[in-house]
Amino acid sequence: MLESFLSLIHTWLIAPFSYSFMERALVASMALSLAAPPLGVFLMLRGMSLIGDAMSHAILPGVALGFLLAGFSLPAMSLGGMLSGLLVAVMAGSVSQLTGHREDSAMASFFLISLAGGVMLVSLGGSSVDLTHVLFGSILAVDSTALLLIAAISTLIVIILAVIFRALVVECLDPLFLRGQGIKGGMVHGVFLGLVVLNLTAGFQTLGTLMAVGLMMLPATTARFWSTRLEGLMVLSVLIALVASSGGLLLSYHLSLPSGPAIILLAGCAYLLSALFGRHHSLTARLRRRATPLSNSLDH
């Protein structure tokens, strides 16, 4: 009985990863799961949950240009994506500063321009299959170079995030205090946006430019239903991302589903369940909540 149970577990959960493409996919998604959710937590806490989405459009023209110039080379595409992402972020920032236009509308405009430009470039240079690849990724085609790049970028993100962590926390909470300390809030903000772009470039190969945001935001928004503390949010969101990405890979293996959407949909299920049954701010938490009596000693 026990033996058959163990062999079932082996067949379902472990055996798939004996294939080297699955193994690489697992390591890649694990690396992304460590770096992306903490960024998502900060985006969410700063009320910028949709910026990640917008940013993902911004890296598209660079990726496409890299593809056109160097063919299907991951370093070239990543570098292009990183550059165009940063360029768009800087341009949106400076247009809003120079013209007094609100930053979110400047960003929206630039992201739409880049999305259209990116799709145009991809279509000029390749077939629709390439476009699908860039937009939705293919985690099962991650080679060693890609794996190395993803791991390196993820490590860099975690390290830089640790360095600017306290500044970032203070900037979210009380930007004036940070300015009083002689640190320009804009600098911290800029480095943080740079990390978001970096993370999206690491993610586009595996999940595609559009799906990469999912691994960043969904674990963070899910964790919000379970913890009210920053550390709790960080740890929980990483755990959720790890489970979602390994689970999503297994689902895609057993049921022949596309891997990126499987991972994101699994995280999406966690979000929906948490919205219903989570400890804080969820639907059931709302219904369950009763006012606690002041104190038993206050009898009257």
Partner: protein, 239 residues
């Protein structure tokens, strides 16, 4: 000599001069009240002292290093939905001495606890900021400046929307900080609080500054406020 001096200062906002020919010095180890009608330039002056607004003319001589200057704005841009507890907020005050990268040690936490006890918010240590009342929040923010060991403290109407007990606690703490050598500047509207707290007064009116003693606001014979606590005030010789 005073650590904070104003030298022929001219400040403008959006191309309009708010204050000009501002001269004088703020006393060390004392509390200076900053009073004036709405729009008289109190917040503008505070921003200039904090270094976030560049003077059009003249300059501010401040010998207090930037990390020892603390600023408690009136409507604090504090994001209350941010998941942070009172203790964590107070601990961010270690930044100036401790830097942004190092972790906190036991001594920091002990000092944090002492500060919370001093302010009567020990029982709120782990309460999220979003669940605090106005008075509790103000105590926590003062706690951060205590942690920061601020030598120059600027407060913009610290007693607005704050309960009476908190006003008493905060006044004691401010007096104590001043007696330990801090230069404190407080924007006040309440003349009674001013009479109790201030050692010196800077009145901003019609674009100019006028230094005065707080005695001028209190009738020497009766000990009562000599004029209704209403602004703008006019003083002998000001017209």
């Amino acid at each position: 000599m005073s650590r904070l001096q104003l030298k022929d200062l001219q400040l403008a906002r959006g191309g309009r001069t708010v204050l000009e020919h501002l001269e004088g010095h703020f006393q060390d180890a004392a509390i200076t009240a900053l009073i004036g009608a709405n729009g008289a330039g109190k917040s503008t002056l505070i921003q200039a002292i904090m270094g976030t607004l560049t003077p059009v003319n003249g300059h501010i001589e401040c010998q207090v290093p930037a990390v020892r200057r603390a600023w408690l704005p009136q409507q604090l841009a504090l994001d209350l939905s941010f998941p942070m507890s009172v203790e964590e907020l107070i601990m961010t005050g270690t930044w100036p001495s401790h830097g942004a990268f190092l972790g906190y040690c036991g001594a920091h936490y002990r000092r944090g606890r002492d500060i919370m006890q001093r302010l009567g918010i020990s029982h709120l240590a782990h309460r999220p900021l979003g669940e605090l009342s106005g008075g509790q929040r103000q105590r926590a923010l003062i706690g951060r400046t205590l942690m920061q060991e601020a030598e120059l403290l600027l407060l913009d109407e610290p007693f607005a929307n704050v309960d009476i007990d908190t006003v008493e606690v905060l006044m004691d703490v401010l007096r104590e900080m001043a007696s330990e050598g801090a230069t404190i500047i407080v924007v006040l509207h309440d003349m009674e609080q001013l009479a109790r707290l201030a050692d010196d007064v800077l009145i901003l009116t019609e674009g100019h500054g006028r230094w005065a003693s707080p005695d001028i606001l209190v009738d020497r014979h009766t000990g009562q406020l000599s004029r209704p606590p209403r602004l703008p005030l006019t003083f002998p010789g000001s017209v």
